[in-house]
């Protein structure tokens, strides 16, 4: 187990700088998830930690030691790849054992270690199969096993779940989370799926275009997004954004004034999460017509047109409003998110 520190990390490919100074401290045993849209530099950061890419500027420290020039194998890390990178020509046992090739363990010790890891992943029965005979989830487990077997100080995951289907994905998510609880190793996990980030992370690092947008616990980034980008990126369906204005006594949005005090004046962007915008029987803040309904079972998402602007609101799952009907939408002023013209959140 170890801490990981990134200090002003910069990466350039030729002239193109793709990471512009990343600073991050990962505590010992922490589960940190990097999330962000495609191409934002998540993998690059991870690969620099792993030692698969040169560091253009700044420092990578593992357990307080600068490792910029260390070989991957000397960094005491393990990595799991998106396409599993398990070798199709080796049995599960050999695949898992592969991580031990350079270790100094004796043969029986290795075998024991492999069995242990397999047991931990409930893969004991499959040890002698070839990957082709495994399901996607099992393959992913083998990949994790191969990383675990060396008992590294830091686990790195690069979108390990994105090749799995929805059901498996949520299952593996849980497994990895539980594994972390059990072994307690520091984990850095890259994904572009915010649900994964939310459900697994101790802390989330949200990146965009080679910059960190926000670092925080899932609750922080969800409830106090640092800027519009984070607000939209985290949470599904995405936060509704509406143009608004700070007025005396509150903010004006969609033709209504909502009592919410702010130091800011002038143009604002108002964000409301669909979950905070309820279709209500009584009097609401906004009125609009339902253009589309997405029944999700226990709830229904209603797409409501209020004065030419479409917003998503939550409605009941059992008795959803009718398509095309006029509805009232209620929102708690506390749940408004305010952003300045520069997109940064306003307290």
């Amino acid at each position: 187990m170890a801490t990981v520190t990134l200090h002003n990390l910069v990466k350039a490919y030729g002239k193109a700088e793709v990471l512009h100074g990343i600073n991050l401290e990962v505590a010992d045993g922490e589960f940190v998830v990097f999330v962000g849209p495609s191409g934002c530099g998540k993998s690059t950061t991870l690969r620099m930690i792993a030692g698969l890419e040169d560091v253009t500027g700044g420092e990578v420290q593992i357990d307080g030691r600068t490792v910029n020039h260390l070989e991957p194998k000397d960094r005491d890390i393990a990595m799991v790849f998106q396409n599993y990178a398990i070798y199709p020509h080796m049995s599960v046992r050999k695949n898992i054992g592969f991580g031990l090739r350079t270790s100094k363990l004796s043969k029986p010790e290795r075998e024991k270690r492999i069995e242990e890891v397999a047991a931990m992943l409930s893969m004991t029965d499959y040890l002698d199969r070839k990957p082709a005979q495994l399901s996607g989830g099992q393959r992913q487990r083998v990949a994790i096993g191969r990383a675990m077997v060396r008992d590294p100080a830091v686990f790195l995951f690069d979108e390990p779940l994105s090749n799995l289907d929805a059901q498996l994905r949520s299952q593996m998510r849980l497994e990895i989370k539980k594994l972390h609880q059990r072994v307690g190793t520091t984990i850095i996990f890259v994904t572009h799926d915010q649900v994964e980030a939310m459900t697994m992370a101790d802390r989330i690092v949200i990146m965009k275009d080679g910059h960190i947008q926000q670092i925080g616990t899932p609750a922080e980034v969800f409830h106090q997004p640092a800027n519009i980008f984070v607000a939209q990126f985290i949470g599904a369906p995405s936060m509704n954004l509406m143009p608004g204005r700070a007025v005396s006594g509150g903010v004006e949005v969609g033709g209504t004034v909502i009592a919410r005090e702010t130091d800011h004046s002038g143009e604002l962007t108002i964000g409301i999460r669909p979950d905070d915008l309820h279709v209500t029987e009584g009097e609401g803040r906004f009125a609009g017509r339902i253009t589309l309904l997405e029944p999700l079972g226990s709830e229904t998402l209603a797409y409501v047109d209020i004065g030419g602007q479409e917003v998503v609101a939550r409605a009941d799952g059992r008795n959803p409003p009718a398509l095309g009907s006029m509805v009232q939408l209620a929102v708690d002023p506390e749940n408004l998110h305010l952003f300045g013209a520069d997109g940064v959140a306003i307290k």
């Binding site: 698969l52 040169d54 020039h69 070989e71």
Partner: protein
Amino acid sequence: MSFYRNLSIRQKQVVWAWAFLALPILFYTVIRFYPTLNAVILSFQSWNLLGPREWVGAENYIKLWHDPVFWKVFRNTFVYLILGTPISLVLSFVIAYQLDKTRLLHGTLRALYFLPFLTSTVAMAWVWRWFYQPVPIGLFNNFLASLGFAQISFLNSTTNALPAILLPAIWAGLGFQIIIFMAGLRAIPTSYYEAARIDGVSGWTIMSEITLPLLKPTIVFLVVFSSIGFLRIFDQVFNMTTNNPGGPLDSTKPLVLMIYQTAFSSFDMGYAAAQTVVLFGILLVVSLLQLRILKDKP
């Protein structure tokens, strides 16, 4: 060791790359490039292999330019290319395309088509030569004669001999091309064809608008390598015309055979080297042209 440790990842890769390549580069330099260079130098010399080498300037090239045999051979070489490459490609494509749709004994048929690729050119050249003989021993002519047709002079003819020699060359390489084509065809997702079926487009449109364009990488590969093969044709010609190599009247002689004869019958090494340099130029230009034409077009 610590020097190596302090290298960046990229630099380490460079070190490894050259480590991987060290022996091969030595090999290619000594075994391939040096003799090639030697041939280039030799093309400006006169040497009968036995005596000393003498500088003669561009004389070999001038001689080549004025040598009517060379121009004939030059023409033949291109005829091999211009007939051989398209015919073998079309044939192998048609067979691969049809074979791809067949399931009954698919593997066996495929193996049969591939077999000729495994045989020795010399032995097969003889069999073909035998097929081509006039009556009473030639298979084809006996067949013609038994049907009451006049016999055809296959090899002893200035017009028929070249195609007659080309045929076994195509025959021998067909299996390889068929398999490559089949692999290319297999790599095209079925849904492309199903989508087209639903759209109701005709078979010909599917072929010209979907199959062929999507096979382009395969086609480029085959065109380039089969062209190199036909431009370097030698074994078939040499072995099918052993009595009169490249004959009759040089009508089947390709450049490589001319080089071989110049070098090992006339022992005019300098002249042979000049021919080699010309062949190298032709191959280079043709390959580059093909790559350009086939790869660039959208």
